[in-house]
């Protein structure tokens, strides 16, 4: 008999004299779960952008996006509604949230008597779990299902750049592009940023999957000048990118550029099959982005399109205004070639005169004017008509047309927009010690941050809070720019502080050239007097409706001529809208009477 085995178990009685380790929940105390516990969701409703990534990763379809406010740019207005009859507390949604707004508390008790109660919108509905926001499962910077770091773009070194007009940005290699495209979560918020509503997530997905041709064709669905966009677009899509909230946005522009750069001969790969001509004719004035877009898509739809362009090349401001180190000529030619290949007729060196315009109105079923803003704005100060004061737009045009431009040693560029920076960088490349003088602070500059950075790399100083007062003759054939200092005054109800001149102080720059880059204005001299008087203007631009119709019958307008953003992608968007408008007009769905 196993005496030991019978007696030993009796030692278990010693446990009876030790205190019990029962946790007396819930009657005597409450027990808080661990700091990392995956409890109920909380959502910072203002931080959330409604990108729907949480709904996409939820394997249980527990998350439904519901509308809580009107959509805005970069915010769908939708917020996740969580069904706790589905949720499995895996917290994948927390880890994937691109803004970090969706989190979990460490609250775990939720008892209800009805099964319908287990649905709520975190952050909107109050169920009592919201107060303990500080503890629970939170996003961790180390683990992120999203790749927040952009693949860096290779660029020419600053010192190398200024020696020539070689392209500064080198473009992605294939591997880099795939890796960058991989990052996109496909939420589609970027579409709200893009004026042309390009199918951004789709073509990025195609790149990630290695299908460049598919990607190219998706791009060509609503942008006939992708390489231009890929190089010089103001990329408003990237500002809406949901990855940009915690990290760097997807390099949408560079990816588009990568795709188009893969193909030397676009005609082979772009599936552009124009429909047979339907007998309607559309005349277009100006072969800028808007004009080319309209011409291309109208031709694809079977309309005969003809463009009249004053310059020897198509491209408008993208040809004449953008420096070649940003957008080389061959890239432009490639795209124009494709546009011409579908049957668009472009008459180069044929500026439109009032007579010709009247003829066009008779000859064509519709006329689209997209002549842009070819004239520089004046500073409206004394001595501005000095011969050594030139407008940036004229300066750039001359450089791009290959004319010899004498600018001397020292050049000041007045202004803070992209044009100003283009001008100052071109001047630098022409061998001048150029610099920028701007009325406000650097942060207020409307130019792209990237461009401003580039000036730093290239050793171009930016002087700020400078208000030009007058221009005078200087010594040794130079010219003097007299200016005053400004102080920034924030006024009630204004978005940003405005510069106010500090009276009494006057300084001067003595330079060879003063380049004025404070804005542009349209040139409408080709319009007949009658039309010019009749056409409705919106300050200095032509007023159009959402179908790009002007107040003159049969005349549509678009591009910089009609919109204030004055960038290429908006022009393309105008072109696209005009296509739709013209098509509807020619089909009789739209008429000026009904307008």
């Amino acid at each position: 008999m196993d005496i030991k085995g019978i007696l030993k178990p009796l030692t278990a009685w010693k446990r009876a004299f030790q205190p019990p380790h029962t946790i007396e929940v819930p009657n005597k105390r409450t027990r808080e779960a661990a700091e990392r516990y995956r409890g109920f969701h909380v959502n910072d409703i203002d931080k959330c952008i409604g990108c729907g990534t949480c709904a996409a990763i939820c394997e249980n379809e527990a998350i439904k996006m519901v509308k809580v406010k009107d959509p805005q740019k970069g915010d769908s207005g939708y917020r996740p509604r969580i069904d706790y009859g589905r949720c499995c507390w895996c917290a994948l949604c927390v880890d994937v949230c691109p803004t970090g707004s969706l989190e979990m508390t460490n609250e775990y008790t939720w008892v209800r008597e009805s099964a319908d109660d287990f649905v709520f919108i975190p952050g909107v509905d109050k169920i009592g779990h919201e107060e303990k926001k500080d503890k629970g499962y939170k996003k961790h910077e180390k683990l992120n299902f999203l790749n927040l770091e952009r693949v860096p773009m290779r660029e020419l070194d600053g010192k190398e750049r200024v020696k020539s007009f070689a392209e500064v940005v080198l473009g992605y290699m294939e591997e880099e592009a795939r890796k960058e495209a991989e990052r996109c979560i496909g939420c589609g918020l970027c579409i709200s940023g893009c004026p042309a509503r390009m199918h951004i997530p789709d073509y990025i997905r195609a790149i990630a999957e290695g299908d460049d041709v598919k990607s190219l064709n998706i791009i060509y669905e609503n942008n006939p000048m992708p390489e231009m966009c890929g190089k010089v677009c103001t990329r408003r899509c990237e500002f809406e990118c949901s990855l940009g909230h915690l990290g760097e946005p997807v390099a949408i522009r560079w990816l588009k550029r990568y795709v188009v750069e893969q193909f030397d001969d676009l005609k082979k790969f772009v599936k552009a099959e124009p429909q047979p001509l339907n007998g309607k004719k559309v005349g277009i004035v100006g072969a800028g982005p808007a004009g080319l877009t309209a011409a291309y898509y109208l031709r694809l739809k079977g309309y005969e399109t003809e463009i009249f362009e004053a310059a020897p090349k198509a491209g408008g401001m993208t040809f004449l205004g953008i420096p070649k180190y940003r957008f080389p000529i061959p890239s432009l030619d490639k795209q124009v070639e494709l546009i011409e290949s579908v049957g668009v007729k472009i008459h180069y060196n044929s500026p439109v005169t009032p007579d010709k315009f009247e003829k066009m109105l008779k000859e064509y079923d519709a006329v689209f004017i997209a002549t842009g803003l070819p004239k520089g704005m004046s500073m409206r100060i004394e001595g501005e008509d000095h011969p050594q004061v030139i407008y940036a737009i004229d300066f750039l045009r001359k450089v791009n047309l290959g004319e010899k431009v004498e600018i001397g040693k020292d050049v000041v560029v007045v202004g803070g927009g992209n044009v100003a920076i283009d001008a100052v960088r071109v001047a630098k490349r022409l061998g001048a010690n150029s610099f920028i003088a701007y009325r406000r602070r650097v942060v207020d500059m409307p130019a792209d941050e990237e461009e401003i950075e580039a000036t730093e790399h290239e050793g171009i100083p930016i002087y700020t809070q400078i208000i030009p007062l007058r221009v005078e003759d200087g010594p040794d054939g130079k010219v003097k720019l007299i200016y005053g200092k400004a102080k920034m005054v924030q006024k009630e109800g204004e978005r940003r502080p405005r510069p106010v001149l500090i009276e009494g102080e006057e300084y001067e720059y003595v330079v060879d050239r003063i380049i004025v880059a404070i804005g542009q204005q349209p040139e409408l001299s080709y319009l007949p007097e009658e039309i010019k008087n009749k056409i409705e203007m919106n300050r200095r631009l032509i007023k159009v409706n959402e179908r790009q119709m002007t107040s003159i019958e049969k005349v549509f307008a678009g591009g910089d001529l009609t919109n204030w953003t004055a960038d290429a992608i908006s022009a393309i968007a105008d072109g696209m809208r005009a296509v739709k408008g013209i098509e509807m007009f020619l089909n009789g769905e739209l008429s000026w009477e009904k307008k």
Partner: protein, 372 residues
């Protein structure tokens, strides 16, 4: 006088699915002659959730909340297996520290499962104190899990590319504290359970396995090791960092339930030892490598079979991919499938009905993994 035929003497009886002595929901159709069993038929399907079907229609990353529920009490083994299969197919290397943390989690998971099992086997024989102690003490391990992973039972902690979070501050000390506590408790368990005269009497000589069945049927884990077969996936085919740890395979030669119990009893000590080693040798560094975008993650076509040593034996995942973003087929090798069917059918004839549920718990059949 009328002679009773065999059929007349036999009684058909059913055990489960709702049966306090059986772990999980499965039912057995048993035939009795008096108190002696003559045959058994196992029925499962009460927990069938069609995991393998559901996984085929979810993204790779979305499968993780599913896989951890395949074997409910031991979720980490599933996660690790599936993650390792995907890493193998996609060619992902994970950081060294992540491997160590995974091993730590796996060992903690084995430890808690063994603790639960002690309660199971003793509770089946009516020793109510044992489950009260062991499940209560197991809860301290669950607390550790909660702190580390954010969940008590379903951790979803091991993902392809590493583990989800690094150890919280001071976690190592707390693990060691719990290990000290458990080590201090082990003699009490021995006195109450493993050296208990009644316990020994009930288990010795019951469910005697013929060692030749082990390879023939595909028996693995403690059941095989109780027959003197030194088979342990951790040694045979080391995964994560088991090749860097010092340990010996535990075997017993009794071939009966008591030998199985003693293997598991010694595995507890081994697990504690391994956890101490892991804490001791764990390197510093990253715990996570970036995956490709999980929402669109595609894995090239291929197939693989990976396995780990779960508490019950060889837990395998057969994963087939076809180059899309969802698995083509995931087939889970439930460890106890041969135990619950082929082995049990061979063991049962001649067994007393009172020993039946003890034998089921002793073989550690786990229905969720059999039927998925």
């Amino acid at each position: 006088m009328k002679k009773f035929s065999k059929e007349d003497r036999e009684v058909k009886l059913f055990v489960g699915p709702q049966h306090p002595g059986v772990t999980g929901n499965m039912s057995f159709e048993i035939t009795l002659e008096g108190d002696i069993l003559t045959s058994v038929k196992t029925h499962v399907g009460y927990l069938h959730r069609a995991f393998e079907k559901l996984m085929e229609r979810r993204l790779f990353i979305q499968n993780f909340p599913l896989v951890c529920r395949i074997c409910v009490p031991e979720s980490d083994t599933n996660e690790e297996n599936y993650a390792r299969a995907l890493e193998e197919l996609a060619g992902i290397e994970i950081p060294e520290r992540a491997k160590w943390i995974r091993t730590l989690v796996l060992e903690l998971s084995r430890l808690q499962m063994f603790m639960r099992w002690i309660g199971g086997i003793a509770g089946t024989m009516g020793l109510g104190t044992a489950p009260q102690w062991s499940v209560g003490d197991r809860d301290y391990i669950l607390d550790l899990f909660e702190e580390l992973t954010g969940g008590r039972i379903y951790h979803i902690y091991i993902l392809p590319g590493g583990v989800r979070r690094d150890l919280p501050e001071g976690f190592e000390e707390r693990v060691l504290k719990v290990m000290d506590y458990l080590e201090k408790k082990l003699p009490d368990y021995d006195a109450l359970i493993f050296e208990n005269a009644v316990f020994k009497k009930r288990l010795k000589g019951i469910a005697k396995i013929d060692p030749s069945w082990v390879e023939e049927i595909g028996v693995t884990g403690p059941v095989a090791r109780a027959c003197g077969f030194p088979f342990d996936v951790r040694k045979e085919q080391p995964y994560e960092v088991y090749d860097k740890l010092d340990f010996e395979i535990i075997t017993e030669t009794g071939c009966d339930l008591y030998a199985m119990a003693m293997v598991r009893r010694r595995e507890i000590e081994l697990s504690i030892k391994l956890i101490r080693q892991i804490i001791d040798r764990m390197p510093k560094g990253d715990v996570w490598t970036h995956l490709p975008n999980v929402l669109y993650w595609k894995i090239p076509a291929g197939e693989t079979y990976v396995k780990t040593e779960a508490t019950r034996g060889e837990f395998g995942y057969y994963v087939v991919t076809d180059g899309s973003d969802k698995p083509r087929r995931v087939h889970v090798r439930g460890v106890s499938t041969p135990h619950a069917y082929t082995l049990l059918e061979r063991l049962v004839p001649g067994m007393n009905i009172s020993d039946f549920s003890v034998a089921i718990v002793g073989l550690q059949t786990c229905p969720p993994e059999i039927e998925r």
